[in-house]
Amino acid sequence: MAVETTTRAKLRWGLLDVIVVVFALVPVLWIASLSFKTPATLTDGKFLPREWTLENYRTIFATDQFVRALVNSIGIALIATLIAVVLGAMAAYAIARLDFPGKKLLVGVSLLIAMFPQVSLVSPLFEIERQIGLFDTWPGLILPYITFALPLAIYTLSAFFKQIPWDLEKAAKMDGATQGQAFRRVIAPLAAPGLFTTAILVFIFCWNDFLFAITLTSTERARTVPVALSFFTGASQFEDPTGAICAAAVVITVPIILFVLFFQRRIVSGLTSGAVKG
């Protein structure tokens, strides 16, 4: 009886898992499949390409447009992630550990920023950036990215900091550390899983953004990949660039996957075990 139940439960869960995975992955696989098709077979509706070709990839890397956008994307996302995580870590540490005046206000305001619809900010940001000369520059995108990533960073990180036993910090202070040393040498290494998790989330947010990128850029100087993709044209005016767009779409998922895989190794659970009793 019990065995039967578990097999049935296993089957049920297995079926559910398959449905979820298929549902999530079919569009991605479809895009990947399209990117390997020749223009002639592009619309044949077959899931597996009948004729394999790398032509689409050659096309996108041949144009300076895409490569330049890729560089912009990587640069902007990395810098924004770094700054957001460092600032977020300091803010989150203060929120988790200290009782300072205006703490609730700070948390409230950062929550407000996270809830604010980005669309409503795009026009004013466009005007402001044009006035102060940030329009179509890297900092012009990095700044709004940091602004919108910080609440996320602060929330995830303060949750991580709260888990670290406070005694460790006291011990570091007794051992002769300044507040800064205690943070850098004891707390931050222990919060590393949290820092990496946050970094991944912030990086994905920056990497995927389209709204800010299309509004606040106008040339290849700062245009990121999602935007560059939308500007793709075929070899001639009458050729459909579907194949190239698909190839580009596949290419831009690669850095995300690499980034996640790289940092996932660092997210070792149970890093704090052994610090305090039990």
Binding site: A172, M174, D175, G176, L190, T272, G274
Partner: protein
Amino acid sequence: MADIVLDKVSKRFPDGTDAVRDVDLEIADGEFVILVGPSGCGKSTTLNMIAGLEDISSGELRIGGERVNDKAPRDRDIAMVFQSYALYPNMTVRENMAFPLRLQKLDRETINSKVEEAAKVLELTALLDRRPANLSGGQRQRVAMGRAIVRQPKAFLMDEPLSNLDAKLRVQMRTVVSRLQKQLGTTTVYVTHDQTEAMTLGDRVVIMRGGQVQQVGPPQELYDHPRNLFVAGFIGSPSMNFLHAAVEEGALRTALGDVPIGDRLRRELEAADAPRELILGVRPEHFEDAELVDAETGRRGLEFEAPVEIVESMGSDKYVYLTVEGERASAAELEELAADAGAADLTGGGANLVTRLSAESSVTEGETRRVWFNLEKIHLFDPANGRNLTLHEGRAAGALAG
């Protein structure tokens, strides 16, 4: 190494609670002082103030003659062992112990030799390259001690360092701590809620209650001459028996019979305008099976009869629980002690006596036994303020004295 002086040190938290009130304490250079009391008595707060982890609301703290109220912990040169050990999990044992030295910017060789030396003292040499997660509780505790001793600070502060160990290991570590402190001769302040640790470890014991110091003294003095009801009830295991006593016609009427009052006590009672109702305190070991008491000793005490409820044979002696009729002693201090022991609602009607009789006693459960108790060793307390009325020049002399 240095002495530590607390001069009217108080701690008031922002929410208005007074955690520590006007604590005066002078800890001599090299002394081992224990702060003990029930939970919430302010002992840990006091320790944290000495450490510099809590601000001092008022009063002055001097270490080595120097006022350190406003100094950061790192400038006070004192080491602390935490109840939770607080080892850095991302570092090996060696790195943990080297951490304070590295912060002092010592060169690598000095650090290494000091760590090795401390590791040898604590028998940690084989474990130096392990991480805290791979150590047992006792080993972690020793690493925490090692981290404290390695830089030879002016003083050690220990916040219930043994309370996370199992009973057997605790006894073992107690001797380790004691030996280490004697060997190093470093001023040590040790916080515990365990009165056995307090009795066995310290040169002097400070008993705290509600943020105030109740009594300071060597363990034996606290045991023999408790200044008040709270100290009497807190020190000693099993704890002192308390019985209601009424002053009537030159004697004390108690559940154990009429206790005669000596002249000196009578004068004292009159002078102090003492109440008619008192609390009688007798330690378990001051009872004895009446059969085993010789005539001469017998004259110094009193005999009574009581039904035997439970006999616990400890091998060396017997703990005998007796039931006696009569009113139970009641005072705020006693209720607090009972609450701390978690036994507030355990006592039934009448009064229970815990007695420690000789192992030779043939006492059995269920019988009614004649038991003798030593009148020279009894204490009398004022239920209103808990004061010990039998103290003379700081010494208790029993009810019959003078």
